[in-house]
């Protein structure tokens, strides 16, 4: 068979398979997604009032002392043997020490893979509760309760160890402080 005939076959095949694998199967799934899981399909968005402030799944950066802080990001590809890794870890450890955490949990010192890890470990969260209690004027007990409400973990196959969803926790924290600020105006 001539090359020209082969080419025509190839072109027709390309057209058929493109339509099949790009249009025919994607469109119904997009439609189904809106029916079955509209929230997940559009990105599991979280709102504060009417404003979208993030996604339940995706971590966001927190640096303020009034919020629970997540994992560091920016240099996930530092090799185990790279001296820069030890330098970064040492710097992060000393920052946490000056913020009152003497022995910070490993996940507060080591970069996440995605840069947007939504979680920190329970230990890492507990180390920050005294600071949050001080900054927000909230009792530690209240924060402990909040922590247990925002845990995810191995039981529901969400994470391999019990972890806290940082953004979820912080949103709840804002709700809580707004309320308590109104309740207890200090004279």
């Amino acid at each position: 068979m001539s090359i020209a005939a082969q080419l025509v076959r190839g072109l027709r095949l390309t057209l058929v398979l493109w339509l099949l694998t790009v249009v025919v199967i994607t469109l119904p799934l997009l439609g189904l997604a809106r029916l079955v899981a509209p929230d997940a399909a559009s990105g599991s968005l979280l709102r504060q009032g009417n404003r979208v402030v993030g996604s339940r799944l995706v971590g966001e950066g927190f640096s303020s002392a009034r919020y629970l802080q997540g994992r560091p990001a920016g240099a996930p590809n530092l090799a185990a043997s790279n001296p820069e890794l030890a330098t970064r870890v040492a710097a992060a450890a000393s920052r946490w020490r000056s913020a009152g955490v003497t022995d910070p949990a490993p996940d507060l010192l080591l970069d996440s893979g995605s840069g947007v890890d939504p979680h920190i470990s329970l230990a890492a969260a507990r180390q920050q509760l005294p600071r949050l209690a001080r900054e927000r004027g909230l009792p530690l007990k209240e924060l402990e309760r909040l922590l247990s409400q925002h845990q995810e973990g191995p039981v529901a196959l969400q994470a391999i160890e019990p972890v806290v969803n940082v953004l979820g926790f912080n949103l709840a924290l804002d709700r809580l402080s707004d309320g308590s600020a109104i309740r207890t105006p200090t004279p």
């Binding site: 005939a5 025509v8 190839g10 072109l11 095949l13 058929v16 398979l17 493109w18 099949l20 694998t21 790009v22 994607t26 799934l29 997009l30 189904l32 997604a33 079955v36 899981a37 997940a40 559009s42 990105g43 599991s44 968005l45 504060q48 402030v53 993030g54 996604s55 995706v58 966001e60 950066g61 640096s63 919020y67 994992r71 996930p76 590809n77 530092l78 090799a79 185990a80 043997s81 790279n82 890794l85 030890a86 450890a93 490993p106 010192l109 080591l110 970069d111 996440s112 893979g113 995605s114 947007v116 939504p118 979680h119 196959l157 969400q158 994470a159 391999i160 160890e161 972890v163 953004l167």
Partner: protein, 571 residues
Amino acid sequence: MLPWLLAATTLAVVALTAPSLGRYLFDVFDERPQPAWDRWLNPIEAGLLRWIGDNGRSADTAMGYMLPLLISNALFGALALLLLLVQPAWLNPLGFGGLRWDLALHTTISFLTNTDQQHLVPEQSLGNLAQLGAMQFLMFVSAATGLAVGFAVIRGFSGRPIGSFHRDLLRALTRVLIPASLLLALFFLVSGVPMTLAPPLEIITLEGGRQLLPRGPIALFEAIKQLGENGGGFVSANSAHPYENPTLLTNLVSTWAMLIIPAATIDAFGRFVGNRRQSNLLLALVFALLLIGAVVAMTAEQAGNPVLERWLSGGNLQGKELRFGPALTGLWAVVTTGTMTGAVNGAIDAAMPLTILTALFNLFLQVVFGGQGTGIAYLLVFVLLAVFLTGLMVGRTPEFLGRKVEKPQVVWASLILLIHPIFVLIPTALTLAGGTELAGISNPGSHGISQVVYEYASAAANNGSGLEGLGDATPWWNITTSLSLLGGRFLPIAALLALADGFRRKPALEPSPGTLRTDTGLFTSVTAVVLVILGALTFFPVLALGPIAEALSLLPVKTLGAIGDVLNLAS
């Protein structure tokens, strides 16, 4: 303890599900009746083949299979390349422009060869039209091409005509990859993976910063990415990103999805040759290799980085997600490099040297389940060589599956095994000779050597993972890895088809008392030895310079110091 339990469960599920999917693949590619599908798929497939202008009859020669493969793959690539170079405004809400030519070329070749090595940041350079029309399209057709080749080779080894490429390609899509991807996509969807054409969302964070949520039609993309052993991420962070891999459960299912089709293909091979004992032993062999790698990597990651002991304890969390933890990220690294998927759920660059050693070992061997369709083909090449060597050792006529293994088979097999080191080691040497700036090395010392050799090994093995600190978005990297990608894909495919077609033409022999049985534990162990010697020793020097040297460099704090003390005392 829990990570080990989950890892063992995942692998057990692979072992338990492989036979039923193997049976299914056998039915599809041996064209046996599949009542549930045949009624409505048969007319569709026949109609499409007719419209394409193909009678669907088996090719007479290896060339008859290879030529339509090459032509169609060239056209698939051309279409995708065009979309990447132009990137029209349609379905492109952030208005990304066309890619630079070398980046577009590399990305196209990389996805066309079922590799999905990415030198670009997709969420910062590709609109949804490119993601779907170029990337998702190539992920489906490259996986289908691999499956087609795998079963053509299996047919040859079983003495059948090698088949029709167009027919195989179409059936691989309609009966295997599309239905399986739709099911997996549904699972991903209900687990939280986005599936929308709404534009990526820029939000103001709680603290007032800006952040882009890279949502898109990810669920289906993710499904074919894992099942088709493609591995190219919708976003740069790949399966580490919560939109691609939101939970521990999706992580385990994704791990299963990488393994299931290559495992089932090995099972289907046994059904084709009517000897499931043979295929079960081969499965046991690759499972054993995978398990050894998994234990090494999981142990290394869980033990953590001794350099950081002053500040922290526990496993190596650098570059990893808390959802998965160190051990299961180590398991993923072994599975993704063994299966030639190349998806990553954490930074392999930041993994412990022994994990990187295992990953490189898998990339060099190419048979720890191996690529879609091509994994079993490479495995059969090693078996042929093992047959030949044992035949020489015991003085019996080398025979495999009732046919003599003679000079042409051994020549083809040797050539196939030579292609890989050529496309890995030569460009590695050239790049290292060009200096660290040309190489784009980001981590100093022996790790830098690993970064370079990993990139070419990943390209030539059509894997796609990388030590991603490497500055690889340069014309040098794009062009040289493109050569390794193409050479590592199409040369072996051509040679494998020629080998299989030649093999089926040999007269079938009845087993005689002098026949060396290949379906025994002893012979399988010999195959394992042949694999390790032929497949890995070629690369041993570069392993010694890279990950082995790096592993030793992490020791001095305790071990090397102690050895030094002993020596000092002795003198």
